[in-house]
Amino acid sequence: MLEVSNIESGYGPVQVLFDVSLQVNAGEILCLMGRNGAGKSTILKAIMGQLPVTGGSITLDGKPLHTMPAHLIPKQGIGYVPQGRRLFKELTVAENIEVGLMTRGEGASTRDWVLDLFPRLRERLSQVAGTLSGGEQQMLATARALCLRPKVLLLDEPTEGLQPSMIELIRQVVIKMKAEGYAIILVEQRVDAVLSIADRVTFIENGKDRETVLAAELRRDKTKLKTYIGV
């Protein structure tokens, strides 16, 4: 469904990604793992068109995304939960959701569907997003991305700094989205979370995808985790 082939990208003159390729299918969870600074977030930003792609290609169902103006990329059906949530902090919960709905012209039924997934947000619609707790902010960031009814969901460390019950909630939502046929790319550091949820894992090292393995394989043999992330 989403195919990243041999892309090069970076920040200004600094190249960060070197010949990165990965691919995710509908109803599948691909996890990206790698040390801090390996380039995981940069890959997602490149997919979203926030960084110039100087080589290679990114396609969604065969349609090229890397040549498209950045604001049109989400409209193809890509929901993005950035690292650190990046909410519109001074807007209310309802307004953050509204921005998500506007992206692909979704209406009241999608809004209800998203709020049913996160009932806690429904109680706080008029609260300013910046005053939500960390867990609630993560719910909102996820809800905002789901408002697109995307085909592809990009999640960048959605459980960073959350307590176990909140992590479990986010996990349940991700599993539910997989069951609905979403293609999901999940950046995640915690090994147990990855092993329990992923279908495949791509290891990123120094701006390059080193290896992609089935999660089942990884569960049997953990030596690769040692090689790439040192645990």
Binding site: M48, G49, Q50, P69, A70, H71, L72, I73, P74, K75, Y80, P82, R86, L87, F88, K89, E90, L91, E95, E98, V99, G100, M102, T103, R104, R144, L148
Partner: protein, 308 residues
Amino acid sequence: MDFGPHLMLASLEGAVISAILVLTAMGLSLVFGVMRVVNVAHGEFFMLGAVLAWVVSTTLGGHPAIGFIGALIVAPVLVGCIAAGVDRFVLKRVNYDADRTIVATIGVLYIIQQSTLMLYGPEARPVQPPFNTRLSLPWFEFGENGFAMIWPWGLSITSYKLFVIFAAAAVLVALWLLLTRTRIGLIMRATQQDSDTAQAFGVPVGKVYSWVFGLGAGLAALGAVLVVPIQQAHYLMGGDPLLLAFIVVIIGGLGSLPGTVIAALLIGMSDGIISVFFSPTLAKIIATFLVAMVLVFRPQGLLGRAET
């Protein structure tokens, strides 16, 4: 005249100054808030509005009201389009880099100013107000027969000046509704807070910037159309509004729209009152002094938030 009526007169003058100032400063504040661009050419968009008001009203001829209404529509729209062009062909090219946009808008300032000098000339030209009846204002007094209403000589305002005050208030309300109640406003506020993320949710940030820059310049031009029947159109008239708008935006808190409104009222009223009782120069000195004080004791402005 007694002190009371005199103060009322001064306050009304101050309200007229505030009305123009609030529109100009709102434009500057909006552009800074959403785009983080310090637009040094803002005063020239004000001047262009005034000059275009003269051009439109003399071209149309007939009753002054026809020219005035024409100017009210044409000048802000045209100035807004010019500004949107500046955004696309200048600001976008320097990537909205903070330092380079300042230099670039200084360049734009001189280009607009000198082009106006060449095309329009150095004269100051008046525009006829659409209506201008003098309205006497009452004052209340406790005399021998108790409470009485008197009409002190010289206590009056023109109907046009009253109109300016109400027109500015109406524009402010419209702007507030636009920002808080419409999708366009929501998109502008989202872009203001995090343009990258807004883009990741389908917001065409480049287009939003052009619209905001155009809207900011259009507000200055609108203020200028309102002011030309009181003050003549001249190619150098952009300097004072720019300075005052900067003072207002700094005192109010960079990018804070409510702060901008409050500061515009404060500066406009004090400017009017001090000018009437003392001198216009003293009014400017006090305004500048206020800015210095704000910068020392509350650098984020009255309603601005400290950078986090």
